[in-house]
């Protein structure tokens, strides 16, 4: 039963990720006074791409062709670890939160290699920038997550979220800092404004798009899907760690249904925040990103220190 729920929620993750992307696009369009595409447009795009014949450069090696599958699988694996609608998942035990960060690193490693594989300047540029930003973002993210794991004294995400649930609504300064840090990291890691702009192919500012410039057809579909999944993963992390209320603690149909509704509601609200932020801010210069990320790191560190100094049991 546990395993069944785990598989079900992974499938839900994979299925709902494009919907979230569509919803964000919708909100952004409304805010910018444009006519929004259908909520299901990302699904149509993915289906269209899978039916197209992929074009692969003659310079490309096997790595370029296999990388989308590896990236997608690693991201799906990360999704199995994160509780979406219910806690107490067996998959959270087989891979804890540090392994989840490892899965992201795995996907990124291959994405960056794929960018270098074709031997164009754009690919190298994208890989170099992506690795720079992620290597600054990863410690900040771990700092924020360590705050949670030290509070709950477990690195198992299911247990940690249960712990937060059982504690009830307690305002912890450390969680406020960690929330801010994780939000900043999530924006950087998923390539949103102000770090990267997902909707532009303007050459000199590209990061994520520069790496996947050579991809087409089903390969592009997989990579797009994986990045939508990653966005949703970060959203769910923020929603379920800091506002876990509503998530199912028992495996009956009603609780699971509430869990699904709760997470969809939470993600919808988060997406509106993201859309507002993306409308209000402009993309920043590449070398300002380090300041942005060091700020995130500092917040994470402050969170951890305030946990140690103010909240720890002794």
């Amino acid at each position: 039963m546990n395993w069944l729920i785990a598989i079900l929620q992974t499938l839900l993750f994979v299925a709902l990720a494009p919907l979230l992307a569509g919803w964000i696009k919708c909100c952004k369009c409304r805010l910018q006074n444009r006519k929004a595409p259908s909520l299901f447009q990302p699904y149509r795009d993915l289906i269209k791409l899978t039916h197209k014949q992929p074009v692969v450069s003659e310079q490309a090696s096997w790595l370029f062709i296999k990388a989308p599958y590896i990236i997608f699988s690693a991201t799906v694996l990360a999704a199995t670890v994160v509780p979406l609608i219910a806690v107490d998942l067996p998959t959270s035990a087989s891979a804890d939160v540090i392994v989840m960060v490892g899965f992201f690193a795995f996907a990124r490693f291959f994405l960056a290699l794929a960018g270098l594989d074709v031997g164009t300047a754009f690919g190298g540029m994208g890989s170099s920038r992506e690795m720079t930003i992620s290597s600054l973002a990863e410690p900040a993210m771990l700092m924020a997550i360590f705050t949670l794991t030290m509070t709950a004294s477990t690195t198992n995400l299911s247990f940690a979220i249960s712990h937060v649930l059982n504690e009830g609504l307690v305002l912890r300064p450390s969680f406020v800092f960690a929330l801010a840090a994780l939000t900043l990291v999530a924006i950087a890691e998923t390539g949103r404004i102000p770090v990267d702009n997902p909707s532009t192919h303007l050459e000199l500012t590209m990061i994520h798009e520069a790496m996947i410039l050579e991809y087409s057809g089903r390969h592009l579909a997989l990579i797009e899907w994986a990045s939508q999944l990653k966005l949703m993963l970060y959203g769910v992390l923020i929603a379920n760690i800091f506002f876990p209320w509503g998530i199912a603690e028992t495996f009956d149909v009603q609780a699971l249904g509430y869990g699904l509704l709760a997470i969809m509601g939470k993600l919808a609200v988060l997406a509106i925040f993201l859309a507002v932020a993306e409308t209000l801010f402009a993309k920043m210069r590449l070398f300002r990103v380090q300041e942005y990320l060091s700020f995130a790191y500092l917040l994470g560190l402050l969170g951890l220190l305030s946990h140690i100094i103010l909240e720890a049991s002794r």
Binding site: K52, Q53, L77, A95, F106, A112, M143
Partner: protein
């Protein structure tokens, strides 16, 4: 029996060295064999001719090389067996050898700690001996005689094994010096380059200074005990000041060999100039032997560790890890890069060892055992993947005659097998899940997260910061090895040599790295066996092992308790395979959408050339800007002008030099100081014999006065 295996390993490596000496004595061997055949009437013509044939000009060096490496490989296998034997049996075997000076026999002790490092040496030596015969073929016998290489390789391995066996300070230092001096000759092997001679001298200098520090450390211990055997040193009761002095001396000595910042400078000089299989041994194994020395000295001989030592190790380790990887990233010479990355990994090991000491001194032996486990497991993993990467670098150098990664590219198509092996090495060292590097890093994070049990507020805030530095190091390592793999194997070839390169032909040269790559993957999926082996080391040395979660079994890794953290790599592997297969199968069903091969998109301008690709310095440019203070950067852009009024740019020359801060900050002042001191001392050398006689006279008078 186990001890006999251990001795066998030492003797075999020693004999392999001696056998290599025969290379110069081909004619004598021929004479001797003919003489022997005349004497023995049973030798029939057939075997005689076979042997005579084998001694011919062409076959003799080939066969001898094979024989030397077979002996070395056997030594490795014996070392593995001996190590496994003692680890499984959890024994402590002692012995005395009446070698050396008549009144000080060599004491031998073979326990779990030695056994574990025997295992590391054994695996590395076996892989190297598979790889060696193919690799040394490329050396010209007249310029680089195999006799030298083989002799010192054998002595080097024997020295390392003897260090692990030693149970008294004399024997330890003799073995230590054997290891250092033999490796000096190996670094100086290609001595026709002045840079190589300089590197070798620097190495020898630092090795000897380090050895002096170790001797002084033993001396401090010995002055509080009645003898030089480790048994006597263990009994010594030191005040905490003297214990700290001994610890600092040992840290300096062993840290110099292990390559901890700021005494790491010999590593990036010596590793690139030694032959690749030797750099693999030096970086993969010798650094671990230094680590063994430190662990033996601190945890075993000194006994009660202080938490302040742990803090010293933690801070030094953090600096080394971050510094090592940042310097590694800037290198363009592949082997230099790998050498700096060794500094990083040793830094990580020191960090976790420091955590272990802190927990130990604060009365949490179980957590100390966890840190100890993470440190030793990372040492083991580093030996595997760094060996693999150095051997891979040797293969690349063998085929392309290049070590500059800016001159490579596109090798994934020319050398598919090598590229696969190298990719596994890169993924392990970047600590990606499913590979062994990740497991030890995961354990390190788990250790750091146990900080809540400590009472000291400073430590409780220091350790999470160190954990964040570890996270940064891991992320930077991933970036660094994306650069390495991407520039060497992917893209278009950047030089003629790389375009012409082809796969390594020699099977042994592929088998050695393949063995290591297989182990990297195997221990990434099933870390259990190694962890239980290290647990017995911790049990013997710290008197405490991890709580054994029998309920979870071999599938799971749950070092503290299941409710705190767990990791099941086999399940993750199964999940990855399922996810990968489903997506692959689902999307590949339709044959109408098969791949179409086409030209690379070039923005419509045409003429995409290899020079347009990102280079090493371009790839690391963002890092160079962000962490600018870490290096001394000398960046010059010169433009050749031409045309009317000299306004057209004909060519642009870009020159980038990255220097280590430790040279101007630490070594040059020392050098100046010594020179100044020498000048001051030089004043008493007047060159006049009467003055010298006066000195002798005064000395004599003073001596007489002292005695009376």
């Amino acid at each position: 029996m186990i001890l006999a295996l251990a001795y066998g390993a030492v003797l075999l490596s020693f004999f392999s060295g001696l056998l290599a000496l025969l290379m110069n004595q081909r004619l004598h061997v021929l004479e001797f064999s003919q003489h022997w055949f005349k004497k023995s009437p049973h030798g029939n013509d057939c075997s005689q001719s076979a042997i005579a044939n084998s001694l011919e000009e062409k076959h003799f060096p080939f066969l001898l090389r094979q024989a030397v490496f077979v002996l070395l490989g056997l030594s490795g296998v014996f070392a593995i067996l001996a190590g496994l034997g003692v680890l499984i049996g959890k024994e402590v075997i002692t012995d005395q050898l009446s070698l050396g000076l008549p009144w000080v026999p060599w004491h031998v002790r073979f326990d779990c700690l030695s056994g574990f490092f025997f295992l590391i040496v054994g695996i590395a030596t076996s892989a190297v001996s598979l790889y060696g015969p193919g690799y040394v073929n490329s050396y010209d016998e007249s310029q680089h005689p195999f006799a030298v290489l083989g002799l010192f390789t054998g002595l080097f391995v024997a020295g390392m094994l003897l260090v692990l066996l030693a149970d008294d300070a004399f024997f330890f230092m003799i073995a230590w010096e054997l290891m250092s001096v033999a490796s000096y000759f190996l670094v100086a092997f290609q001595h026709e380059n002045s840079a190589n001679r300089r590197a070798a001298f620097l190495y020898l200098l630092m090795a000897e200074v380090g050895a002096l520090a170790i001797i002084l450390g033993f001396g401090v211990l010995a002055s509080f005990s009645d003898g030089f055997t480790f048994g006597a040193l263990r009994e010594a009761h030191l005040s905490s000041t003297w214990a700290s002095i001994a610890f600092m001396l040992a840290l300096l000595g062993f840290g110099m060999k292990a390559g901890i910042v700021p005494v790491h400078v010999w590593l990036p000089e010596a590793h690139p100039v030694a032959p690749s299989h030797i750099s693999a041994l030096m970086s993969g194994v010798m650094l671990k032997v230094a680590l063994y020395g430190l662990i033996r000295f601190c945890f075993d001989l000194l006994g009660d560790v202080h938490w302040q030592w742990g803090v010293v190790l933690l801070v030094l380790g953090t600096v080394s890890a971050l510094g090592g990887i940042l310097y590694a990233m800037m290198q363009t010479n592949l082997k230099r890069l790998l050498a700096y990355s060794s500094v990083e990994n040793i830094g990580i090991i020191f960090m976790v060892l420091g955590l272990s000491m802190i927990f130990m001194a604060n009365g949490h032996p179980q957590l100390a055992a966890l840190g100890f486990l993470a440190a030793l497991f990372h040492a083991f993993n580093h030996a595997l993947f760094k060996n693999l990467l150095f051997l891979g670098a040797g293969m690349i150098h063998h085929q392309t005659h290049q070590l500059n990664i800016d001159m490579m590219g596109g090798l994934i198509k020319k050398m598919p097998k090598t590229s696969m092996l190298f990719l596994i090495g890169c993924m392990s060292i970047s600590s990606l899940p499913l590979f062994n590097g990740f497991v030890s890093e995961w354990l390190a994070f788990q250790t750091a997260l146990q900080v809540d049990v400590l009472n000291n507020g400073v430590l409780r805030s220091l350790i999470p910061v160190a954990a964040a530095a570890l996270a940064l190091t891991a992320a930077l390592a991933a970036a660094c090895f994306v650069k390495v793999f991407g520039l060497i194997f992917l893209g278009q070839p950047r030089s003629h040599h790389c375009e012409k390169a082809h796969e390594v032909q020699d099977k042994g040269m592929l088998a050695g790295p393949a063995l290591l790559a297989g182990l990297c993957f195997l221990f990434g999926i099933f870390p259990g066996p190694v962890i239980s082996l290290i647990n017995s080391v911790a049990g013997q040395l710290l008197g405490e092992t991890l709580p054994n979660d029998a309920a979870l079994g071999w599938l799971w890794l749950a070092p503290v308790s299941t409710s705190q953290s767990s990791y099941a790599p086999p399940l993750v592997l199964i999940g990855a395979l399922i996810a990968g297969c489903i997506s692959f199968w689902y999307l590949r069903r339709n044959p109408a959408t098969a791949l179409r091969i086409s030209e690379t998109w070039d923005c419509g301008f045409g003429g995409l050339r290899p020079r347009m690709q990102y280079s090493s310095s371009a790839f690391t440019m963002p890092f160079r800007r962000i962490f600018a203070k870490v290096w001394i950067i000398d960046e010059q852009i010169d433009k050749d002008m031409q045309g009317a009024m000299n306004q057209d740019v004909a060519a642009v020359h870009y020159h980038l030099q990255i220097q280590d801060h430790s040279w101007p900050r630490l070594y040059h002042p020392i050098e100046h100081g010594i020179n100044k001191l020498a000048k001051v001392v030089g004043r008493i050398q007047t060159g006049n014999i009467r003055v010298y006689l006066g000195y002798s006279f005064v000395t004599l008078i003073i001596m007489l006065w002292v005695i009376s």
